[in-house]
């Protein structure tokens, strides 16, 4: 029936070959966008291939990553957290944190925003737009736009603007316009749709800095590659610290950029377990969650085929998570692919478990994690008791929690009063 040419069924041997020329990770990915955007996506892909190995581009990017962002970020041995999970016989996981929270602007998001703004400049775009959920990508984009003097509009759901008020202020302070999105639940999904509509309208003058490994090709590839520095540094730092590879990588997954940034370097290292943690919200059985990979079905959202939270009629379901950055009904297509291959494992933790982890990391290590990151930390409760010996776990400490303290304070108050 189909006229689609047969594609090689064998898995690519190198992760560098993913995605294929059509932007597919297996069946996932692709470009499901209005025709108006197709030439812009082709232009972006061409610019990416032209500049990613261009010495001048790389010199500028590497210089800024070092002096402006503050890379490399440390790989920190979380001693008291390790002790907390030690078994009575003294064995137990050795827990390390890849400190992306120490980057300028407080999260991993700046890696991609910075590299994309350098691309935008070279493509001659004077205006930049972005979507944001937790506000971390919005802040990162506003930051690099200020740094390079570009006009910047950030789309953000009204609900997220309320729960991430600090980040809204930061964006405005740096000269960005924050455009409130009231559609739907006023969260990341709706902000992304609105950013895409802006791009369709202003595509000839505007670059869209998409903030996750989601969206149409080439975004999942570009955003992954601009975050791969996380995994590359982790490899070098692991070698320095224990002359080996990590045994387990652990990261939270909303769209999945911090997880892909950490995983990508190790996808072809079969000894390394890759674990992504999604938001189970109030519990997956309540329907109020954002556990796309663990409870979604294959669908198309924001330009890519991937797992998707949808109802029986194919309408996208509104997700729920205490963490604005994970409150998304879709997920990056490469995660769907890694799940289907069985290469990566995906689990989910609830709002409450994340809050407990938020508190635990603050008290044991003096590190206040972002609520997103707290989901990855929370999974240690399940994972550590299952592990034998002294496996080394690297958790992507993807962001710091300053932005979340007001939200969390309210919840802790409510808990204490009840």
């Amino acid at each position: 029936m189909t006229t689609t040419p047969l594609r090689p069924s064998s898995q690519p041997t190198s992760s560098a070959q993913r995605p294929d020329a059509l932007g597919r990770f297996g069946k996932f990915g692709g470009k499901y966008v209005p025709e108006t955007l197709m030439p812009a996506l082709a232009e972006l892909e061409a610019a990416f291939y032209q500049y990613r190995n261009d010495p001048a581009f790389q010199t500028e990017l590497q210089g800024l990553l070092k002096d402006y962002v503050g890379r490399p970020s440390p790989l920190y041995f979380a001693e008291r957290l390790t002790t907390h999970y030690a078994r009575p016989n003294g064995t137990g996981a050795q827990i390390y944190l890849k400190r992306e929270d120490l980057n300028h602007t407080g999260a991993h998001k700046i890696n991609n925003a910075l590299a994309q703004v350098l691309l935008a400049k070279r493509m001659g775009k004077q205006r930049v737009i972005a979507e944001t959920g937790a506000g971390q990508h919005g802040v990162a984009t506003a930051t690099v736009c200020a740094r390079f003097g570009l006009k910047c509009v950030i789309y953000m759901g009204v609900h997220d603007m309320e729960r991430q008020a600090l980040n809204v202020f930061r964006m405005k302070l740096m000269g960005a316009e924050v455009s409130p999105v009231e559609a739907g639940t006023g969260t990341l999904k709706d902000a992304t749709s609105e950013a895409i509509r802006d791009w369709v309208t202003n595509v000839e003058t505007t670059h869209y800095i998409l903030g996750s490994v989601a969206g149409p090709h080439p975004y999942p590839m570009i955003v992954r590659d601009f975050h791969t520095v996380i995994g590359e540094e982790t490899r070098v730092q692991s070698q320095e610290k224990w002359q080996g590879l990590p045994d387990i990588l652990l990261a939270c997954v909303g769209g999945g950029s911090n997880a892909m940034g950490l995983f990508h370097e190790f996808v072809n290292e079969p000894s390394v377990r890759l674990i992504g943690v999604e938001a189970a919200g109030e519990g997956v059985q309540t329907g109020k969650h954002a556990a796309t990979l663990t409870h979604g079905r294959v669908g198309v959202l924001h330009g890519a085929m991937s797992y998707l939270l949808q109802d029986e009629d194919g309408q996208v379901v509104e997700p729920h998570s205490i963490s604005a950055g994970l409150d998304y009904p879709g997920v990056g297509p490469e995660h769907s692919y890694l799940k289907e291959l069985g290469r990566a494992e995906y689990y989910s933790v609830t709002d409450q478990e994340a809050l407990n982890a938020f508190k635990r990391l603050s008290q044991l290590e003096g590190i206040i994690p972002a609520l997103e990151t707290a989901h990855a930390i929370a999974y240690l409760e399940v994972l550590c008791p299952q592990l034998e010996g002294f496996p080394r776990i690297v958790i992507n400490c993807s962001g710091r929690g300053d932005k979340d303290v007001q939200t969390v304070a309210k919840l802790f108050d409510a808990t204490e009063k009840s």
Binding site: T3, K31, Y32, V33, P34, E35, G314
Partner: protein, 266 residues
């Protein structure tokens, strides 16, 4: 009821430009949608585009987004939309073109989706988030089910893509007249004229111009520039939404006749 191409062929043989109104199914409710289809058919429509409400309508501006949201809030389901088509289409002169995003199609499975809409009496299909590269999986099965899948070209589409899309598009070619989403605009961009000419130089297939056509003058302009059809969406949806169903239907029908008169041959 004819196929989409037969309808265009007939109009072309009489040197007439097609009027293609759009309505969102289920707004304000499906009974009104059924009446709207009949009224439009009786008021000068040549083909009718019926929008399936979707939760994430990326290509739509505020008017159609809001209509889709209202329709979904009322609980409009895909099967019910098809029931309306099934019930009304035998009485219509105008072929019905279904406008839907891709996820609801994928969710049903391509073949069973096509089977269902063909059985209901749908003749054409427009999927705004399915560009040429992704449309491959739908084009051939659509032909097998007797559904014409119309592809879109945009102001940003380069010449070589224009040729490839024109070759594959069925029924007609949907020329998006502006970089942007659906919605009403004060005037038509003058580059639409060049786009129509360029498209005409690579294809004999009918050209339907849409996105941003909301006034009789726009429609007439598009026709004079060589369009074989004009698609008017938000302006109809808004008229239906702005008052009581009775009055909304009347306003829609009046507007339809006004548009029809504007594109009537001199």
């Amino acid at each position: 009821m004819n196929s989409v191409s037969e309808c265009f062929e007939h109009l072309r043989s009489h040197a007439r430009c097609a009027l293609i109104p759009f309505v969102t199914a289920g707004d304000p409710n499906l009974e009104v949608t059924a009446k709207a289809l009949e009224r439009l058919d009786q008021s000068g429509a040549d083909l009718i585009e019926l929008g399936v409400p979707y939760s994430d309508p990326l290509a739509d501006g505020p008017v159609i987004q809001a209509a889709a949201t209202r329709a979904l809030q009322r609980g409009t389901k895909f099967e019910q939309v098809l029931e309306v088509v099934q019930q009304v289409s035998p009485r219509l002169r105008s072929p019905i073109i279904l406008f839907t995003y891709y996820n609801p199609i994928l969710n049903r499975g391509i073949d069973s989706f096509l089977q269902q809409i063909a059985t209901a009496g749908v003749k054409g299909l427009v999927v705004p988030d399915l560009p040429l590269e992704e449309a491959e999986v739908l084009l051939k099965p659509a032909i097998d089910h007797g559904i014409e899948l119309t592809l879109l070209v945009a102001p940003t589409t380069p010449k070589e893509r224009l040729v490839a899309i024109a070759q594959q598009s069925q029924g007609f070619i949907y020329l998006v007249s502006t970089t942007g989403v659906t919605g009403m605009r004060a005037q038509m961009e003058s580059r639409v004229k060049d786009m129509i000419l360029e498209l005409r130089s690579v294809t004999d297939k009918p050209i339907g111009v849409g996105f941003g056509i909301s006034q009789p003058e726009h429609a007439r302009q598009a026709m004079e520039w060589g369009a074989d059809g004009v698609i008017v969406g938000s302006a109809f949806v808004k008229r239906l939404a702005d008052s009581s169903p009775e009055k909304g239907l009347q306003d829609m029908a009046d507007f339809c006749r006004t548009l029809k008169a504007a594109i009537a041959p001199n």
